[in-house]
C-alpha cells in the first residue's frame, strides 16, 4: 500500500521535471536554430513577423549575378517581363476607369476576379507561358473590357486603402498590388512592389524566375563581404602557436615545480599564483605600451608571444605531475635518463589527457579572445576571426541574413571540436573551474 502511494507521488513530479527541462533546453538551443534558419533566408523574409524555422519557398530572379527575391510580382502584359523596384510603384495595367457612379463596385468586382485568378495561378507560376495566360485572362475578363473614359476625378484615399487591404489578404502570393491615380485622371494602375534592395529597377524575362527555399548563397556572400578567409587563417595560426607554446612552457615549469628541488621554489610558485589574481584589463594598457615600445603593434608577435605562458597551465599540470609515482622517476634516473629526457620521453606520454585538456582550453581561450586583439591590431590583414566578426557586426548593421551566416561559420569550428572532445571538455571544466 505504502509502496503504491510512493509510486503515485513520484510519477507526476517526474513529468514536471521533464517538462521544465525540455522547455529550458529548447530555450538554450533555440537561438542557434534561429541563427541557422535566418542565415538561409532572404533579406525580405528576414523582416517578416512570422517565426518560420524552415525558410519559405520564394521566387527569385538573377540581378547582376545575384539572386534577388521577388516577393510581389505581376508581369507586365505586353513585354511579358517583370519590373522590379522596391518601395516604388511600377505600373502594370493602366486603364482609364468608368464614370464615378458604378465605379467603386465595378472595380471591386474586377479586383476580386483578379485576385481569384492570381490565387489560383500565381503561386504555381513556373514559366512565362503560364503567367502570360493568367494575365491574358485577367486582361480579358476585367480591366480590358472597361471603356476608356478620361476623367478629372481623383480616387478617394480611403478607397485606395480599401483595395490595398482587400488585396493584402492574398498574403504571400500578392501583397502589394495597390491602385494609384495619376495625371489627374481616373486610371487604374495595378502596382508592383518587388524586392530589389538597392531600389534599382530591372527588367527580366519571366522564365528566369527561380524557385528556392534555402539560400546557400548567403554564406558565400557573407564570406566575401569581409576577408573571412584571412581572419580564419589568422585565428588558426595564432591559436595553434599559442597552444603549442603554452603547453611546452607549462610542462617545463610544472615539471620543475612538481619534481625538482631548488631555492625559492615555494616563493616563486606563490608569485605565480598571485598573478592569477590580476585581472586582464588592468594590464591591458601597460601591455599595449610595452608592445608598442617593442614595435609589435599590429603584428603576430603581439597576439602570440604574451600568451605562450600562463599560470593556469602550469598549475594544472603541476597538480598532475605531483601525483605520478616516484618509482617512475627513480627508474628513469637509474637508466641514465636526464630530467629533460624523462620529461619528454616518460612524463609527457603518460600525461596525454592532462596535456590535451590544457591544450584544448588554451586553444579555445585564444580563439575566443576579443579585447586584446581588438586593441593590438589595426588592419584587416592582422585581425583574428573574433575581431573581424565584431567589425563586420558594426559595419553591416542590419543585414541579418549575412550576419547570421557569418556567425554560423564562425561558431562551427569550436562546436565541432566540442562534439568531438565533449568528454575531455566537460572533465576539464569540472576539474579546473574555467570560466570563459
Amino acid at each position: 500500500m505504502i509502496v503504491k502511494n510512493d509510486h503515485k507521488k513520484i510519477i507526476s513530479p517526474r513529468i514536471l521535471i521533464y517538462l521544465m527541462l525540455t522547455i529550458g533546453g529548447i530555450t538554450m538551443v533555440f537561438p542557434f536554430i534561429w541563427m541557422l534558419s535566418t542565415s538561409f533566408k532572404s533579406s525580405l523574409e528576414v523582416l517578416s513577423a512570422q517565426i518560420s524555422l524552415i525558410p519559405e519557398r520564394k521566387k527569385y530572379i538573377q540581378v547582376d549575378g545575384e539572386l534577388e527575391q521577388v516577393e510581389f510580382s505581376v508581369a507586365r502584359e505586353l513585354q511579358k517581363t517583370l519590373s522590379i523596384k522596391e518601395g516604388k510603384i511600377i505600373e502594370t495595367f493602366s486603364r482609364a476607369l468608368p464614370a464615378q457612379s458604378r465605379f467603386k463596385s465595378d472595380i471591386s468586382n474586377k479586383f476580386s476576379l483578379f485576385r481569384v485568378r492570381l490565387e489560383k495561378y500565381f503561386h504555381r507560376f513556373q514559366s512565362r507561358a503560364e503567367i502570360s495566360a493568367a494575365l491574358h485572362k485577367f486582361g480579358e475578363d476585367t480591366v480590358g473590357k472597361l471603356p476608356s473614359l478620361p476623367s478629372v476625378r481623383e480616387l478617394p484615399v480611403n478607397f485606395r486603402r480599401q483595395l490595398r487591404f482587400e488585396l493584402g489578404d492574398l498574403g504571400k502570393q500578392l501583397e502589394a498590388v495597390v491602385t494609384e491615380t495619376t495625371d489627374s485622371k481616373d486610371r487604374l494602375r495595378v502596382v508592383i512592389l518587388a524586392g530589389d534592395k538597392r531600389g534599382e529597377g530591372a527588367t527580366v524575362p519571366l522564365d528566369e524566375i527561380i524557385f528556392k527555399r534555402f539560400l546557400w548563397n548567403n554564406f558565400k556572400k557573407a564570406w566575401q563581404a569581409a576577408p573571412f578567409a584571412r581572419y580564419f587563417i589568422n585565428s588558426i595560426f595564432i591559436s595553434i602557436l599559442v597552444t603549442i607554446g603554452q603547453v611546452v612552457t607549462s610542462a617545463l615549469a610544472a615539471y620543475a615545480f612538481a619534481r625538482m628541488r631548488f631555492r625559492f621554489k615555494e616563493f616563486l610558485f606563490l608569485v605565480l599564483l598571485a598573478t592569477m589574481m590580476i585581472p586582464k584589463q588592468v594590464i591591458l594598457i601597460p601591455d599595449y605600451a610595452i608592445i608598442s615600445w617593442l614595435g609589435w603593434v599590429n603584428t603576430y608577435y603581439a597576439l602570440i608571444v604574451p600568451f605562450i605562458a600562463a599560470v593556469f597551465g602550469i598549475y594544472f599540470m603541476r597538480q598532475h605531475f605531483e601525483t605520478l609515482p616516484q618509482d617512475l622517476f627513480d627508474a628513469a634516473s637509474i637508466d641514465g635518463c636526464g630530467s629533460f629526457r624523462t620529461l619528454f620521453l616518460i612524463v609527457l606520454p603518460i600525461s596525454k589527457s592532462v596535456i590535451l585538456t590544457v591544450a584544448l582550453f588554451t586553444f579555445i581561450m585564444t580563439w575566443n579572445s576579443l579585447l586584446w586583439p581588438l586593441v593590438m591590431t589595426n588592419t584587416p590583414e592582422m585581425r583574428p576571426l573574433q575581431v573581424g566578426l565584431a567589425v563586420f557586426n558594426q559595419e553591416s548593421g542590419t543585414d541579418w541574413e549575412l550576419l547570421m551566416a557569418a556567425s554560423t561559420f564562425s561558431i562551427m569550428p569550436l562546436m565541432i571540436i566540442f562534439f568531438i572532445a565533449q568528454k575531455q571538455f566537460i572533465e576539464g571544466i569540472t576539474r579546473s573551474g574555467m570560466k570563459g
Partner: protein, 297 residues
Amino acid sequence: MKKSISRIEPYLYILPAFAIIFVFLLLPMFYALLLSLFRWDMISPRQFVGLRNYWIICQDTDFWLSLFNTVIFSLGSIIFGLGLSLIVAVLLSKKIRGLGLYRTAFFIPYVASMTAIAIVWRWILQPRGLLNIILKSLFSLFHLNLPEIRWLQEPGWARVAIIIFVVWKTMGFNILIFLTRLLDINPSYYEAADIDGANAFAKFRYITWPLLMPTTLFLLTISTIFSFQMFIPVFILTPDGGPLKSTTTSVFYLYQTAFSNNLFGYACAIAYILFFIILALTLLQKKVLGKKAAYEE
C-alpha cells in the same frame, strides 16, 4: 661542472614561463600603477600629475555610472544565473533519462564563441526580432496586447537585455559545476533523511544546500570576477555603450577612455581602482561566506 648545471637546471625549466609572465603580467602590473600617476596620450611626453587622475575619477560621473552598470549586471546575472542554474542542476541530478542530451543542450551556449553568439542575440533583441515576436504571441494567448519592447534602445531594457544574454550564455558552466557536485553527494545522506521522514524541501535545505555551499561560493567568486570583466556582450550588443551610456560597463569605459579618447594614464587609474574593487569583493566573499562553507563530506 655537472653539479653547477644541475643546480641551475630547475631555473632553466621555469625560465621561459617566468620570462613571459614577468614581462607581460607582473611588470605591467607595476607599470600600470606608475602610469596612473601621469597624463599620457602615447604621443606627447608623459606629464606627471601625481594623484590627480584618482581625484578626477572621484568626480567622474561617467565612471560611477559605469561602475553602477557593472554592479547591476553582476547582481542580475549572478542572482538569476546562479538561481536558475541551481534549479536546473537539481532537476538534472534526479536520475533522469537522456541526461547527456539535456546537459549538452544547456551547455551549448557556453561553448559558442561569445562574439558570434552575441551577434545572434543582437538580432533576437531587435524591436521586430524573435524575442518580441514570441513575447507578443505569448501575451496574445491571454488577450493582452504587448507594445513593442525596444530592448537595445531604451536604457532600462538594454540593461535587462544584457543580463538575459549573460545568464543564457554562462548558465551551462554553472549548471555543470553544480551538477558535478550534486552527483558526488553521498546518497546515504538522503537515505538517512528518508528514514527520518524528511520531505523534499527539508532534504534540499538541510543536506543539499549546505553541502553545495563550497561550490556556490566558488561560483559566486568566479561569476563576480567574470561580470566585473565583462566586455564582449556590451561591445557587440550595444557598440556605442548603450542608450544614455546605460550599458557602459567599467571595462568598456576603460577601453573607451584609453583607445578612443587616448587618456592612457587616466585609464590606468581606472584599471587600478577596478582591480582593488575586484580584490576586495573576492576577499569579502571569502570572509562572509567562507565560514558557512566549512562543510566537508
